[in-house]
């Protein structure tokens, strides 16, 4: 066995592949919780995308919704923290202040989505430009307020804490690390899995899901059978806003306990790519988000401890910035490889005009 491995390691490319495989086996169980954590905001952004685009509304303002929700969640915590105190009232280090802040963040997501819905559904503006406006406005406003507020460097309401699964569970051989991945999480990361499953079932098995998909594929036909296209689109965009806001809140209330300018760093857009790669289905989008986030987690892990052998020598020669760019590179490569075979809802991005109103 050893002799075989030695021979295989000797062949340049195959050797590298084997060394990489060995490194993955050794490292993945340790970074698995980190993969799910990094996937959480991307997956929520992707779910927002699925929710909107299944009903025929393209939403590239997800990034803006996320940064706004991250800011509102954090600053609401700053405001209500001193009033409501910091006594934990439940699991995950839940305090009244954190819950109020989370509610404020989600509300901000709904409000901003409403602007996008109004522009793209009622005004029938170009949906990509509408999303761009939301991004510029959200980054501008949060940057503006953060610039004013950060001078006083206030304390937020803290952050949700992770659940600690019992040791016996995590130490089960073979599957222990998988349990660890899903259980060593805060409330938002854990809720993603629940949302994905419920959303998947509802989208393909419920009346609401059928109606949403009909509106996204052929709004005229949907209207003919009595579905209110405008209402379905509004509702889906607003619900999508809740998902995106949850992703933003995750960044400032669970992953960290503070707000930094531009802290979403393109996760909303990577989420859109995950949606396309996942073929506009919630489970697919979640899987794609895991794929993207594992590149980030792996990059960090390689920075931390290099694999052995030639592979390590090669990787050591790469600058740190290569790993910073890795998720974006991977997004482009996968998007270019998969997009021809991934087909968007037929009415995606097209404003709907009722016949009677023209």
């Amino acid at each position: 066995m050893d002799a075989l491995a030695q021979t295989l390691y000797g062949i340049p490319i195959i050797g590298l592949v084997f060394q990489f495989g060995g490194y993955l086996v050794a490292v993945v169980p340790h970074i698995a919780p980190g993969i799910l954590q990094a996937a959480t905001p991307i997956a929520l952004a992707a779910l927002c995308g699925v929710m909107c685009e299944r009903a025929g509304v393209v939403n590239i303002g997800i990034e803006g919704i996320m940064i706004a929700a991250a800011f509102v969640g954090w600053y609401a915590g700053v405001l209500v923290g001193p009033i409501l105190g910091s006594a934990a009232i439940g699991p995950f280090g839940m305090t009244p202040a954190l819950l109020v802040a989370l509610a404020a963040a989600l509300l901000s997501g709904v409000v901003i989505s409403w602007v996008h819905a109004w522009l793209s559904i009622t005004v029938r503006a170009d949906q990509i430009i509408s999303g761009t406006i939301i991004n510029i406005a959200a980054f501008g406003l949060t940057g503006y307020l953060n610039n004013l507020i950060s001078k006083t460097s206030p304390n937020g309401a803290g952050a949700f804490t992770q659940f600690r699964p019992p040791r016996e569970l995590v130490e089960i051989p073979v599957i222990g690390w998988i349990l660890d991945m899903f259980l060593s999480q805060g409330p938002i990361a854990m809720s993603v899995i629940v949302i994905v499953v419920i959303f998947q079932v509802l989208l393909f098995r419920s009346r609401w899901g059928l109606r949403s998909r009909a509106v996204g594929e052929h709004p005229r036909a949907a209207e003919t059978v009595g579905i209110d296209v405008i209402r379905v689109r509004y509702r889906n965009v607003l619900i999508g806003g809740v998902f995106a806001a949850l992703g933003g809140a995750y960044l400032s209330m669970e992953a960290t306990n503070s707000f930094q300018q531009g802290m979403t760093t393109g996760r909303g857009f990577i989420g859109l790519a995950a949606m396309i790669v996942g073929r506009w289905s919630p489970v697919g989008a979640f899987g794609a988000a895991l794929l993207f986030s594992s590149s980030t987690a792996l990059g960090n892990s390689i920075k931390f401890s290099l694999p052995e052998g030639d592979l390590g020598t090669i990787l050591a020669g790469l600058p740190d910035q290569f790993y910073d760019a890795l998720p974006y590179l991977l997004t482009i490569v996968i998007l270019a490889g998969v997009v021809g075979r991934s087909i968007a809802p037929a009415a995606d991005g097209q404003p709907y005009e009722r016949e009677a109103t023209t």
């Binding site: 406005a137 503006y144 910035q321 760019a325 997009v339």
Partner: protein, 385 residues
């Protein structure tokens, strides 16, 4: 000919009516955006604890903004200097719009252009300016064009939507700049990562303390792009693909080729913007070299109705805002991000123009954004099919 029968007064009225029909919605949008900005300034005082409420703060802020932008000779030169990259970036985004492509990647192309011209500029810093400046400019243009070529190629070959790809390339560009400036281009013997000066490759000053020759370059580019779009076969093909990619193909044009070419040209223009900033203003780069040019360019292109002259006007507006922002921060304590808010609001009111038109009972006014219908129609697979 009816024109010969018109009196001079009649033709003046006709011209002014035409100007009004073009400029009405942009002007109204700007005024409304300034009002929203004032509300933001007032509201932010309420949210922030421990600050005295000042009802006239918006006026103070806007006065300082105006003063900083056009209140002095240096201010006006600063405005011209901040306008220059916006003109080039606006042309970049507008050119892509004409072909039905949305170039959100001007930011990344700008960064790569800056990096390319610094790399070349440092290499030829000792050569005579006559050689060094063109070489550095060309390097920047080519680097930007490469960053535009990639999304163009991917869109034409695989249908990957240029919006997502260019945004990813923006983030990659940040990493590339940080890696190259902190690595191969790093100046030896300095504690911080910073490139050497571009020396003789720097653009000569023409007016004031900062008015460099890049201002002229931008004006030349305006003429060139206008000529390309409206006086050449290629320009006609680009506009046809943007208006209806299927019709263009039936007429024997090549949408894929035109997509790649247009994105490369757009990248080249944004790259030139980066080159001009580096060779004319900063003369070197730091790893965190970054500006708002890329995103301002989108606003410039839309506000200028993707028309070369309109772009110059819109770029002047945003250039003035950017040039005046520092004084506004000093005198009124208003963060420069207010400019982004104003920008977003101007675009918001432009996009919502049907509502504005109805509310203000404007008649005979051209819509704010006629270009918008073409953009989302050419989504991913449309080109591939």
């Amino acid at each position: 000919m009816t024109g010969s029968r018109l009196t001079a007064g009649g033709s003046v009225r006709r011209v002014s009516r035409r100007l009004w029909s073009l400029a009405a919605l942009p002007l109204i949008s700007i005024v409304l955006a300034l009002l929203v900005g004032a509300v933001v300034i007032l509201a932010s005082q309420l949210v922030l604890p421990g600050r005295q409420f000042d009802l006239f703060l918006p006026l103070t802020a806007y006065a300082a903004l105006l003063q900083g932008a056009v209140g002095s000779f240096d201010g006006i030169v600063d405005t011209a200097v901040s306008t220059t990259p916006l003109v080039l970036g606006g042309l970049s985004v507008a050119l892509a719009f004409k072909a039905g492509l949305f170039n959100i990647g001007a930011q990344g192309q700008f960064l790569l252009g800056a990096l390319g011209s610094v790399a070349m500029g440092v290499t030829v810093a000792g050569s005579p300016s006559v050689v060094a400046i063109p070489l550095a400019l060309i390097a920047g243009v080519l680097a930007g064009a490469l960053w535009g070529f990639i999304p163009g190629l991917l869109k034409a070959v695989s249908g990957a939507h240029e919006v997502v790809v260019t945004i990813m390339l923006n983030y990659i560009a940040i990493a590339v700049v940080a890696g190259v400036v902190g690595g191969p281009l790093r100046q030896q013997g300095r504690p911080e990562a910073i490139t050497p000066d571009v020396g003789n490759a720097a653009l000569p000053l023409l007016i004031g303390n900062s008015g460099h020759a890049g201002i002229l370059l931008a004006l030349v580019a305006v003429g060139l792009v206008a000529w390309l779009l409206f006086r050449t076969t290629l320009g006609f093909e680009i506009r046809t693909v943007g208006a209806n990619s299927d019709a263009a193909r039936y007429a024997g044009m090549r949408p894929r080729f035109l997509t790649i070419l247009t994105m490369s040209l757009a990248g080249a223009l944004a790259g030139l913007a980066g080159a001009v900033v580096v060779l004319g203003v900063t003369h070197l780069m730091t790893p965190s070299f970054g500006t708002t040019v890329g995103f301002d360019s989108i606003a410039v292109a839309l506000l200028g109705r993707t028309n070369p002259i309109g772009i110059v006007m819109a770029a002047l507006l945003f250039g003035a805002l950017r040039a005046g922002a520092p004084l506004m921060q000093i005198e009124a304590g208003i963060p420069p991000e207010l400019i982004d808010v104003l920008q977003a609001m101007i675009l918001l009111f432009l996009v919502a123009n049907p509502v504005l038109q109805r509310a203000l009972k404007l008649r005979g006014v051209k819509p704010g954004l006629e270009i918008t219908e073409t953009i989302t129609k050419t989504s991913g697979e449309a080109v591939v099919r």
